[in-house]
């Protein structure tokens, strides 16, 4: 089977995706499927509320181990609200920049200390 469906509601058993710990469970499943070169459909059906803390753990961290191209080609999201999609897009852009420039945060601290 080349396609895998991951239903967030069924993974965490809750319509509120708020805690990073729950995001971690989704991350583990996504990582496993993507490592096996599967095409993954991630469903946000019945999810009422999403925090960026959850999305950072569930999806943002994928950019550490997978390239942008791999994720574009193999991961698809469905049944997400527009609010949720806005949050997810922001999490994705943040993750790309975080892993591309790992020294950026330290530099921002140094800049304050030099002021």
């Amino acid at each position: 089977m080349d396609n895998v469906n991951i239903n967030i509601y069924s993974v965490i058993g809750n319509s509120f995706c708020v805690e990073a710990e729950d995001g971690e469970k989704v991350f583990e499943l996504l990582s496993k499927a993507l490592k096996e070169k599967k095409k993954v459909v991630l469903s946000f059906g019945n999810i009422e509320l999403l925090t960026t803390a959850f999305l950072n753990s569930a999806v943002g961290k994928l950019y550490k181990n997978f390239t942008e191209e791999e994720l574009k080609d193999n991961l698809k999201v469905v049944e997400i609200t527009n609010n949720g999609a806005i949050s997810l897009k922001r999490v994705v852009e943040t993750a790309k920049s975080f892993y591309k420039n790992p020294d950026a945060l330290r530099e921002s601290i140094n800049k304050i200390l030099e002021e």
Binding site: N14, F16, V18, E19, A20, E48, L49, L50, T51, T52, A53, N56, S57, G60, K61, Y63, K64, E68, L71, K72, L75, K76, V77, V78, I80, N82, N83, A85, I86, S87, L88, K89, R90, V91, V92, T94, A95, S97, F98, Y99, A104, L105, R106, S108, I109, I112, L113
Partner: protein
């Protein structure tokens, strides 16, 4: 007798709570008597509750007396005084209180019910679209999740107040964890002040999570507060930070609050602010 005078959502009132805490933080087995005079902003029960919890954990006895009638009434209605003696709940005729609660770090599910039952789904709330309601819930949750992370095994203190005539909700979340300064300085081995650490942390994409991207919650909350014409205050140890659409203020306290207070003011009368959000193509996310 300690007097807390005219406690409101401002720098001077937080300073009063800090000075009170600094004076008693090393007390053990003492009776600490408090009198609340004139006004007490109900949501500030969250910050005061956190301070009193630490003092109670040192086996001090907290006693309230000679409170102003107005303050005592509101603190009976929101159940704050029930934590400190035989104060029966007072009937909330106008149904505007959002009760004081001491939560465990693991009470995330209970917090969901609290937020919706006590705040967002109440009949007194003005008509708001689901998107608007969800945005407020998300904003509050981002702060609660931060508090959970920072509080470690300690409690989290929440309280709010609804002002239907002013179309305003004040909601406050306090944790007695390590605070912004310590989180940032431990992570980067730096020596930022509390104010510098808070101002750094509210910037987009600034996070102290190890090897995990983040830092969106507080930045997004600031943007939301700006659109909503609301207000956000952060008190963390000796740092004070306030953000509104019109201004950004910061200052340092004399002494330290034993944790972090995030105080949010939402404007419930504005129906337009959430519609400014963009549309996202879900086929172009990654």
């Amino acid at each position: 007798m300690e007097v807390l005078q005219n406690i409101n959502n401002n720098f001077g009132s937080y300073q009063q709570l800090i000075s009170f805490y600094e004076k008693h933080k090393d007390d053990e087995f003492m009776n600490i008597s408090i009198s609340i005079r004139s006004w007490f902003a109900a949501n500030m029960s969250s910050a005061l509750g956190a301070v009193l919890d630490i003092l109670s954990n040192n086996l001090n006895t907290i006693l309230f007396s000679n409170n102003s009638e107005g303050a005592e009434t509101i603190l009976k209605k929101n159940l704050f005084l029930s934590y400190y003696g035989n104060y029966p709940k007072k009937y909330d005729k106008y149904h505007t209180t959002i009760p004081f609660q001491k939560l465990k770090q693991t009470d995330g599910t209970y917090f969901k019910e609290y937020i919706f039952n006590q705040l967002l789904n109440r009949d007194e709330m003005p008509h708001m679209s689901k998107a608007a309601r969800d945005s407020i819930a998300e904003a509050i949750y981002e702060i609660f999740v931060n508090a959970q992370m920072h509080s470690q095994t300690n409690s989290i203190f929440v309280c709010g107040q609804f002002f239907p005539n002013k179309d305003k909700i004040e909601f406050t979340i306090t944790d007695v964890g390590k605070g912004f300064k310590s989180s940032v300085n431990n992570h980067f081995n730096s020596n930022l002040t509390s104010v510098q650490a808070i101002k750094w942390a509210v910037q987009d994409r600034h996070t102290t999570k190890k090897d995990t991207p983040g830092g969106i919650g507080l930045a997004r909350l600031s943007e939301f507060i700006k659109l909503n014409q609301g207000k956000m205050q952060i008190v963390s140890y000796d740092g004070f930070y306030e953000y509104t659409a019109e201004h950004e203020k910061s200052s340092s306290f004399i002494g330290e609050f034993p944790g972090t207070v995030v105080n949010l003011q939402f404007n419930t009368g504005d129906e337009n602010w959430y519609s400014l959000k963009e549309e996202v193509d879900i086929n172009d996310i990654f």
